[in-house]
């Protein structure tokens, strides 16, 4: 089966600092793929490279089979319309209401009558669990959890089959984070989305991800959730078997 996102031999370097050195990653259809890594391990750089915001030194990034590393802005445009991105801090346009934020990608890519624009945008806003009166609010008037949901609504504006989430649960309280995980699962099941998610949240990983890719030593170790926790790499061991992860794995405390 063709991969939705396929990264091969990726090399990224800033000056003398090598961030990625031959990184491989493969995301299959209908997966929720979690990207994990220590702070500064290059998760965000990887995401930026996949999104075409940054050109790699070497390697290929294929989205649905098409290598995007050498495409021009104009050639990237239709590919960008095929996926949605929710950035870490929401990155909502602060001068626009939530409704206008969701409408903006549609206005950019489609030619729609005003009622359809409003109807579709309200549908997306309600789909992510925001109340209808949030539509008229500005991002500064929303809580952190609502901003994250609004960012997902905007990412879904063009009905993409592929969704990128950058630390979607960071900065949320556990209850809101769990509710957000439910939203991710709900959207994945009903819209048959492929989701690529950068996260630090162990709860999120165990609840939502099918497969996990861990960036260690500038490469990615990929496995299923059950497989990755058995991985011998010391950092991965520390990550999944640290004090904070134990309760989730059901291991007795102190074992």
């Amino acid at each position: 089966m063709e991969a939705v996102v396929e990264v091969r031999g990726l090399v990224n370097r800033f000056g003398s600092q090598l961030v990625h050195d031959g990184l491989d990653m493969r995301v299959a259809e209908d997966e929720v793929f979690g990207i994990v890594g220590g702070s500064g391990s290059g998760k965000s750089v990887l995401l930026r490279t996949i999104l075409g915001l940054q050109r790699p030194v070497a390697g290929t990034v294929r989205i649905r089979g098409r290598d995007i590393t050498h495409l021009s802005e104009a050639q990237l445009r239709p590919i960008k319309a095929g996926y949605g991105v929710a950035f870490q801090a929401g990155a909502l346009y602060s001068g626009l209401t939530v409704l206008e934020n969701v409408q903006l990608p549609m206005i950019e890519h489609l030619r729609l009558p005003a009622e359809a624009l409003e109807g579709l945008a309200l549908l997306k806003i309600r789909l992510v669990g925001l109340p209808e009166d949030a539509a008229g609010k500005y991002p500064a008037q929303l809580s952190g959890g609502m901003v994250k949901r609004a960012a997902v609504a905007r990412a879904l504006a063009l009905d993409p089959q592929l969704l990128f989430l950058d630390e979607p649960t960071s900065g949320l309280d556990p209850v809101s984070a769990a509710a957000f995980d439910d939203l991710v699962l709900y959207l994945q099941q009903h819209l048959k989305l492929t989701i690529v998610m950068i996260t630090h949240d162990l709860d999120s990983i165990f609840r939502t991800c099918n497969r996990v890719g861990v960036i260690v030593d500038r490469r990615m170790q990929t496995d299923t959730l059950e497989g990755i926790v058995q991985h011998p790499n010391p950092w991965i061991q520390a990550y999944f078997h640290g004090e904070r992860a134990r309760a989730r794995l059901g291991a007795p405390h102190g074992a």
Binding site: E2, L99, L112, L120, L127, E132, Y138, D159, H190
Partner: protein, 394 residues
């Protein structure tokens, strides 16, 4: 079995030509049979909406919809279909699906269930148009008054902080002050010099043209000298600096506010007024008089150059005439205004910058306000100075 749309295996083209047919309509004895075909995706919604709107609902008591021939259905397509089904039911038709309706349709209906009837947009204010205008004027006046009061309070706090830190010079943040003198003064020298030169040339040219007819060429020197030293040197410098540094102050402080940097300072027990505002006020109060001296020098040189080549006046005669035309106070009358203008500009920039809250649009608006108000108040102050000096007979 649900109609599962085959995944697009190639990147979709953003703007496809709207196809003519998304629906095949057949009229039967009982009503309508709709066969939905092709892509029902977000990129086709405009065409789909048009096709659905063209379906004649009248005299169609029964509508049967077949969705099996759809090659690709996404949420937007399902939304269009769901809206059509609701419209048909409202029109009194009985709508049924041949086979199982697609999953996404259920999702749309579930999502939109309990949709509020009222639009989230607030209605226009009520009342007579005349009353509304009065209310608007009143609101504006009150907010203007509040703004003025808050401005005075801010100015008061800045002054108190400044006076309090006079006792301990270390708290005046000399390094920060020097940085602002550099940013607002040194880096502004080329543009200030260029503008002063051009203005003196314009002034000399204009007056030479008028005075030559009267044989009063020599008074060109008086006009340039007094014009530059008393008014134009300081005023134009202040306006340039208002555009350069007033906006920079407002934008810098405004984005610090948006970033919660100012809150972080306050939370750490530091006083943002002492740390951010006073050094900026002081820096500009030092830089602007120095820039004015530069503008005066360049302006007089420009006048000399033009008199030499336009009026064939030797340099020695120009210098003598300059000495005769100015009194002891001419230079000081100009330069005394510089620190006042500097405080006006720095204050407008800092105050508006600290008012920024919420969004990038507010930042842009307040930077504009800062510059416009700074220039306006500088010119107003200049007019007041002119009246004052006249009364004092300087």
């Amino acid at each position: 079995m649900i109609v599962e749309s085959p995944r697009a295996t190639r990147p979709r083209v953003a703007a496809t030509v709207p196809r003519a047919e998304a629906i095949e309509v057949r009229r039967t004895a009982e009503g309508l049979e709709l066969e939905l075909t092709g892509e029902w995706s977000v990129h086709e919604v405009a065409a789909i909406e048009a096709a659905l709107a063209a379906v004649e609902l009248a005299s169609a008591p029964r509508i049967r919809i077949a969705t099996q021939a759809i090659t690709r259905l996404d949420l937007s397509g399902a939304w269009a279909l769901s809206a059509f089904v609701r419209r048909a039911r409202r029109a009194g038709s009985e709508v049924a699906f041949r086979g199982t309706p697609p999953d996404l349709l259920g999702l749309v209906d579930e999502t939109l269930a309990g949709e509020a009837a009222a639009a989230p947009v607030p209605g226009p204010p009520s009342g007579e148009p005349r009353d509304r205008a009065l209310v608007a004027i009143g609101r504006y006046a009150v907010s203007w008054g509040h703004d003025l009061m808050r401005g005075c309070a801010f100015l008061g706090r800045a002054c108190v902080t400044f006076l309090a830190s006079l006792g301990r010079p270390g708290r005046l943040r000399p390094i920060s002050v020097v940085r602002h003198v550099y940013d607002t003064g040194i880096t502004a020298m080329p543009i200030v010099a260029l503008i002063a030169f051009l203005i003196s040339v314009i002034l000399a040219y204009l007056s030479a043209q008028q005075l030559r007819g009267l044989g009063a060429d020599i008074y060109v020197v008086d006009l340039v000298t007094i014009g530059v030293l008393r008014e134009l040197g300081v005023l134009l410098t202040a306006i340039i600096v208002a555009g350069r540094s007033g906006s920079a102050y407002a934008a810098e402080l405004g984005s610090m506010r948006l970033n919660e940097e100012v809150d972080a300072l306050t939370a750490s027990g530091a006083d943002p007024i002492e740390l951010l505002i006073v050094p900026r006020l002081l820096g500009l109060a030092i830089a602007l008089p120095l820039l004015t001296i530069l503008a005066d020098l360049i302006g007089l040189s420009g006048g000399a150059l033009l008199c030499r080549y336009l009026l064939d006046m030797p340099l020695s005669q120009y210098v003598n005439r300059v000495n005769e035309s100015i009194s002891a106070t001419t230079f000081w009358v100009g330069i005394i205004k510089a620190p006042v203008f500097a405080l006006i500009i720095a204050f407008a920039g800092c105050y508006r910058g600290m008012q920024v809250r919420g969004s990038a649009r507010v930042l842009g608006h307040l930077v504009t306000v800062a510059v416009v108000q700074a220039i306006f108040m500088v010119i107003l102050a200049d007019a007041l100075f002119a009246v004052l000096f006249m009364k004092l007979k300087i």
